[in-house]
Symmetry: C2
Subunit: 698 residues, 2 copies
Amino acid sequence: MTNAMKGAELARVLFSPESIVLVGTSNDLMKTAARPLQFIRRAGFAGRVFNVNPSRSEVQGEKSYSSISELPIVPDHAFILTSTEHAIEAVRECGKLGIPVATILASGFSESGEAGKAREELLREIAYANHIRLLGPSSIGLVNLWNNLTLTANAAFGEAGLPRGGIFCASHSGSLIGALTSRGRARGIGFHSLVSVGSETDLSIGEICEATLDDPTIDGYMLFLETTRNADSLRRFALAAAERGKPVVAYKLGRSEAAAELAVSHTGALAGEDDVADAFLRGCGIVRVDTFEGLLEALPLLKLMSTTVIQHRKPRVGVVTTTGGGAAMAVDQLGIRGVDVAPPSEETRRLLAHAGVEGGHGRILDLTLAGTRYEVMKGALDILLKAPEFDLILAVVGSSARNQPQLAVKPVIASMGVGQPLACFIVPDAPEALALLSEAGVPCFRTPESCGDVIAAAMKKQTPNWAMPGNISVGDSEQVMLNEAAAYGLFARYGIPHADFVVIDVSSPLPALPFAYPVVAKVLSTSISHKSDVGGVILDLKNNEELRSAIAAIRRNVESKVPGVEVGHVLVQRMENPVGEALIGIKRDNEIGPVIMVAAGGIYTEIYKDRSLRIAPVSLEVAREMIDEIRGFQTLKGYRNQPKGDLEALAQAVVAVSQLAISKDNPVLEAEINPMLVLTDGRGVIAVDALVTILGSS
Amino acid sequence: MTNAMKGAELARVLFSPESIVLVGTSNDLMKTAARPLQFIRRAGFAGRVFNVNPSRSEVQGEKSYSSISELPIVPDHAFILTSTEHAIEAVRECGKLGIPVATILASGFSESGEAGKAREELLREIAYANHIRLLGPSSIGLVNLWNNLTLTANAAFGEAGLPRGGIFCASHSGSLIGALTSRGRARGIGFHSLVSVGSETDLSIGEICEATLDDPTIDGYMLFLETTRNADSLRRFALAAAERGKPVVAYKLGRSEAAAELAVSHTGALAGEDDVADAFLRGCGIVRVDTFEGLLEALPLLKLMSTTVIQHRKPRVGVVTTTGGGAAMAVDQLGIRGVDVAPPSEETRRLLAHAGVEGGHGRILDLTLAGTRYEVMKGALDILLKAPEFDLILAVVGSSARNQPQLAVKPVIASMGVGQPLACFIVPDAPEALALLSEAGVPCFRTPESCGDVIAAAMKKQTPNWAMPGNISVGDSEQVMLNEAAAYGLFARYGIPHADFVVIDVSSPLPALPFAYPVVAKVLSTSISHKSDVGGVILDLKNNEELRSAIAAIRRNVESKVPGVEVGHVLVQRMENPVGEALIGIKRDNEIGPVIMVAAGGIYTEIYKDRSLRIAPVSLEVAREMIDEIRGFQTLKGYRNQPKGDLEALAQAVVAVSQLAISKDNPVLEAEINPMLVLTDGRGVIAVDALVTILGSS
């Protein structure tokens, strides 16, 4: 938006305005539009507050102006509380007056059918023309706890006395913020500011967060996402946050199809596939948690681990406990999420024994009742936190956390910073112990599920994919599908091998083949994407005679099944003898940009959802990690004494395809090698079918 | 145990003794053995309490007896607080005196290596010989809140003022009970009694629970399980509970391999495969939850649904809310667990509109702020609870539950019993609202995860498998592997078809085959279980000549690869043309008894764990449900226009195999049809390989 406010100055007028105007304050205390003034006065905001209400000269005992234009100064921020129909006009007036930002409470825009979409478009144009930034519509407002600004119509959000802290919270859902503040309060978790972004007609969640990045009092970001719309600004924010070492945790709706659909109807956004969103958030270095409680609990651990990235191996957690059963629950939750709880090494056991710490010989160090004594737990932690076999130590504390909260968490708090990251799961109901730990910055968990969720998510965090290109505008450019031979040619430029082939003109005599039989013959055409379905592929041809009659059969099949198509050429390709198959594909998501996929070949890709996605491009290390995630590739790792496949060559091909995905010369919209044959270890991989759609001319 | 106490009388001496003796009460208040007397006195137990301490005449200001034999009366229950070494002798003395039950605190038995196992064996013998029942060892005791009996050494367990209710709680882990009581207390959930069963040397969790079944003040059971040992008594209890309509919920450790291993080292039990345990619990009608919070929250819903069983279709939940974002979280958690949130029908929408309830047109009924008004929420619930398209209604309540708990939950409480079961998810932190709901018996959830978990588990509850045979003692009987032909014969007796075959004596001339070529030839032997691995199978033989040379090749291959085996016969079988494959197997679990498995054929069974288990026998309906659970069978349901497979015939075969599993004539230890070929719909299924191991002579 030209001439419109951005960056730190935007953050100031949003969260630290010196003056605000409430447009449409009601005098009827039962009405929603009466609430913001009440909340602001109750919280004790120190700036100037103006009210506009055309039908009254006084509201709630304060002066009311009859219009925005009458205000004695130009306020920093307008909160528009009017109905949908009056909101657009109010924005225009605010803009004309020079108010830099307006927050709109009303709904009835993009989420309300065609009429709503048109209203939203108008609103956007008016804001743009008048150089005013918008928060909302459908925003229930924002809160900055550090200056008592409660610019909101929501009671929960405007609750008095919320603890202050360093967490900046932004949410697509307004009603969810009350849940976060109240649950945070019960845990002693302090927020810096909270904002309901509504339908992001102008300001997106990414741009708002980005604007606050240089605020030294903000040390972490908590996002509640319904979609990944406005991915570009979200990415920009996340990468900048990663550079500053400020962690970002997100809970995103849409793990199930029903909820993905709901997010659409709820906010008017488009639903993407959830695993694409997953890949995007990982690529941005945003840690996605799966439990709601985990969203609240994650940031302390992410802060501790802000520089830690565990790549290409299973992370290992060490567990010490006073309650075997409680610890086992946490171990279970970590295990089902792919995090190993590792036993102490021989050397560590020796050190523990030397320090007089007894904890059995199992996978966890079970101190039993003895662990409720300070010196026993502290002694164990001092040794475990420095043991090289662990990436993190989890202390699981039992009933003592309830009966003697101070004593029970003392050794844990005292052990912060001794070595590896430390976290704590409290098994009984013990709010006091949790609050003490939170206050001391110790990552702590109330349930085994959120404990497993957060630790696994933190351990799987990626360094951001700095090379992510983002989306390009496809506009009205022509989409061109390459024929199979041209597709091989494009892949070859990126070093991706394909099986030898020749293209044969079906009207000429059969030439001598430059490779040996057996071969496969395939129709060559840019108008047929499923060649086999129309009888366009014949396999295992052993000699000239079989090849000739196959070519004739392909002409007959295709021309009878696809009326209007005349078969001019066939592609004849050498048959290969693989040990396995894979699929490598790239796809351009409308919001997110190019996504690369590796999958097990065949129908099982679809049925078992056995695929791995990342935002392109990927490094060799990430490509290996993707391949490791495919369960079906176990058959290529020496399963049941079968020959091993060349998965390293497959990883190299994945890297190459991911480079093609970000090519600027002929932007690729979609590309797929399926199957990519995997030969025995050391012999490489080889594409035997290829599909490419590019933008522009071929 | 002969002459030993059982049933209601056992429950009485355990949980409602008129007199107890504490053996080994310490006078040193810092010691664990000092605690039970303190807790008992603090709680105000009304019965007689005796203390035995050989070295003192007084402990904690009360009289102490120097030995058990000096007691003036025979108490109902002894709590033995001594060290491991003295516990056995104390049990003997108690038994000799006629005390009917003793609880043992000490550890150091089965979980402590060979010496511990021997000690446990001795303990069991002494108890048996002296007609005394044992709780423990490694039991931290028990509590009955209805008579202030706190027979425990654990502070959390002995906490004063716990709310009383109807829940009987039994746990393998002692330290976990403190977590359940404290978390329950925070939610206003009242327990009847709680017991730590320790290592179940004599009394098992099943027998203890069963003994309490006729207590009218107990209305549900909560189990924390580490293993499924003593499965027979657990099954007996669960079936009896189901008959009485008393729900049983269980949380079982061992979803991950690491935790399964931990349960072994922690309690000395054997770990079974977790999905076998799952099948067992389902078969018993026990509802297994996956979240710890869900364990506490499940019983009210299970009580409401005690007579509801939804079979062979996806359950449908209707959602009404004041917070779209909060409801979407619950929808997501239900969706990933296979429970559909269904939109209101046209008729229901008409009724809602008529009642003036506006809630949009989406999958959930979003009342927004209007839903915080009593008449709006009550009006919506009255209609939804009677709508035939729902199996359950979930009300998701937002910030009003915190700000105005009484008002927010009033319409929900008032709607109980109006129609279908009703449950409530409270999105913000609102302990008061949760307590009000709990008090009124409304199933209510604190997190979206436990909400999804409990509702999905309740909806998938099975009627118990009344025909479960339980385990049989294999003893020293001979295990006999049948040859393939005999295995087909056994299966045929149960109506399971196999491909036509003849057995050919390799030393005789080739006879005329009673079926057409092509055929497969296989070595016939009871000493080779993997025929293909030794070159014992040759496929696709087209005529006599090919068959003759195949038989010769099989003799050569097998005799060279398996020294000592002489090939006397081959099985020649007609080749069939299936559309798919399946695996049907039965296995006898040592604790649980016969388990039946259906799986997708091939290597994917193992890699994708695409299998479904139940306790044998199964009905046709359950067999169909099992087949529905196999993702790989999607290829046989008209996937991508491929021909459909005869899955109904497969279901019938599963039922038949499950009947074979419970045969008493020749008890089957293990049997497998792999592959069972699935022909096109209407043409049936046909076994083409079979393996059976039975007990006794063939």
